[in-house]
Symmetry: C2
Subunit: 145 residues, 2 copies
DNA sequence: ACCATTTAGATATCATGCTATCTATCTTGA
DNA sequence: TCAAGATAGATAGCATGATATCTAAATGGT
């Protein structure tokens, strides 16, 4: 997250950056990018939270759902697809299991691995959330265009 | 933060969003925005962390430093300028005070308020970090252009 | 003047990100 | 074949975001 409510003016950036051979406009673009994304993420988190989820839990479900030709992934495969550390995935799995959104069972061929599968409840949830998810994204793109 | 390493393809989004009257390209743009910003923020956090700071602590110092015509702000003014909750600002203040980057003293006219000021050590730190900060922003803009 | 309300900030507690480390299982090469 | 190393995942503990609630000081209407 980027935590600045009001971005510095170009003039202020010149003052800071002027000496350092980076054009102020590039800096403004970078800060604007982070600010827009942060506002979007805040709104998404609030949306997910109102449905007992979080962005991460949602994406955890999505990466399983979107996998072509398969209906389950191992914990490691999920970790590969999500940009968070392993322990976070492990804990998120525990929560989602507790909430009845996924089931996990040991792999038949590798007793270290775990196969994670979505429950019907999770499929129903995704179906319910996706339209609003997309319309929030569209609205935020619009609003900050 | 946005935690998806690989964005869904346009086709996959059509599959999800197609039914819901939002153009897939808009969704891709939104996801790309969040992904770019997240990578930038990750890199910044790692940069700040290698200097014993965090993005928030850095911005806390910056908002005081950049204030025109004043060399101090109250805790409430800092909270207004940063997009984080009050308790986070209070704790960050304690840490920065402990590290010798700011001093805080009660306001003369309002015994509830606290005036926060940068130390010379903080000014020196900002001067040292800003060039690299800007060049990281520029580099990331470049890389994901 | 005085009590109700507002405001500034701090404290308590929770959720969730991280790194470091541990256990269990699989693989590999002498 | 079996010990050394690699790999899958879990656990421990820290850092830092959030909300709810508390205290102390200021303010304002009667």
């Amino acid at each position: 997250m980027f935590f600045l409510k009001t971005l510095p003016s170009a003039r202020m950036i010149e003052g800071y950056a002027g000496a350092h051979d980076v054009p102020a406009e590039t800096i403004i673009d970078a800060l604007t990018l982070m600010r827009r994304a942060s506002q979007m993420i805040r709104r998404l988190e609030s949306f997910f939270s109102s449905h007992g989820l979080s962005q991460l839990r949602f994406l955890f479900l999505i990466v399983i759902d979107r996998e072509p030709d398969r209906d389950m992934l191992t914990v490691g495969e999920i970790t590969d697809r999500l940009d968070v550390a392993g322990p976070v995935v492990a804990r998120t799995l525990r929560v989602l299991e507790g909430d009845g959104y996924v089931t996990a069972e040991r792999d038949e061929n590798d007793a270290r691995a775990k196969q994670v599968k979505l429950t019907p409840k999770a499929h129903a949830l995704l179906e319910r959330l996706l339209p609003e998810y997309f319309s929030i994204l569209a609205d935020e793109m619009d609003r900050s265009a």
